[in-house]
Point group: C2
Chain length 198, copies 2
């Protein structure tokens, strides 16, 4: 709180330079041309665009600008923990207690690089996203779930084959969660994803 203006800039740039590392974390999904894995930095950008384009699907009371901020920071913990694909290890790894604890420690470290008055609210915003209870978080999480499905559709099935995903698994691991925040979107996506599992 008592940082000099120059100290504040030094901390802000330390955070921004550290954030750059998210561009080297690779996800389970490819970019739509199928040529390479998507990284979590560009994924976060794409999700923020999803929030903009699908703003009309948000329930009354959701703040799209707040959702965008959430999505911009939601994956920074992967700098320390890596991405855990939802279909990896038979769908068991994602959201385990060990990974949740590691992600919470990563969030404290990374947002702690910023001046305290900036890092603390961003850390709280990250925890809100993870808790998936507030309307903003539910909407943001649903976008995070639907984007990889669209990527796989655009890439002609993408990495579903590699992870040997079945249709019931996709419905259970992904569809239910998308439908929670984006019911009409899941109807649209479902009809276009289903044929890849025939």
């Amino acid at each position: 709180m008592t940082d000099s203006p120059e100290d504040r800039l030094t901390r802000q740039f330390a955070f921004l330079t550290e954030a750059d590392r998210l561009k080297t974390v690779l996800r389970g999904t490819t970019i739509t041309d199928g040529a390479r894995r998507e990284n979590s930095g560009e994924h976060s950008w794409h999700l923020a665009l999803y929030a903009l384009a699908l703003a009309g699907e948000a329930p009354e009371g959701v703040s799209i600008d707040r959702v965008i901020r959430m999505l911009l920071i939601h994956d920074l913990v992967e700098i320390d923990v890596g991405d855990v694909p939802i279909h990896s290890q038979g769908g068991q790894a994602h959201g385990s207690a060990a990974i949740q604890a590691a992600e919470a420690a990563a969030a404290a470290r990374i947002f702690g690089l910023l001046p305290e008055d900036q890092g603390a609210p961003l850390l709280a915003l990250w925890h809100e996203f993870e808790a998936n209870e507030s309307p903003d978080a539910v909407f943001a999480k649903s976008l995070d779930r639907v984007q990889p499905v669209l990527q796989n559709i655009a890439a002609g099935g993408g990495t579903w084959t590699e992870y040997q995903v079945t249709w019931p698994q996709l419905e259970a691991r992904v569809g239910v969660k998308i439908a929670r925040g984006l019911p009409r979107v899941w109807d649209w996506v479902r009809a276009r994803a289903r044929p890849f599992f025939d």
Copy 2:
């Protein structure tokens, strides 16, 4: 305007899938580990984080949420036109009339994929960014100019050598523009960039 809800989703997803292509547009700057060129999708994400972290440097009246939206969409035209590095062709290519016209056509095409009531305001926001006159646009443009300098500092000089950039060129092409929207930031960055040109 009379699109059905399903037609709207179809257009929104056409836009979002097209936007994915920005992840394949490579810039003149590397990521901070120097291992590869940065793409314009992850760059746009990084800039939105810059807006969040450096919000305190914005003059009174700037809307950070609006700046973030601007930065999220500012490079989409590169899907059609490609990135034009500021130091390429001796600093002459960037901002030429031919490129400006091509970018405006690209903006009309890409934002035109969305339903009209969403595409038109985003197109206007893109033009506002390009005009670099409103306080939001000046702040956003300054962030767009300062991030590559930080990337090059972090990468030990980065691509300045490759483009044979001199210190007076960096001051003229980049420093003046950063100083316009982020005077205190330019002081901080200048002191850390200068040694690479000794």
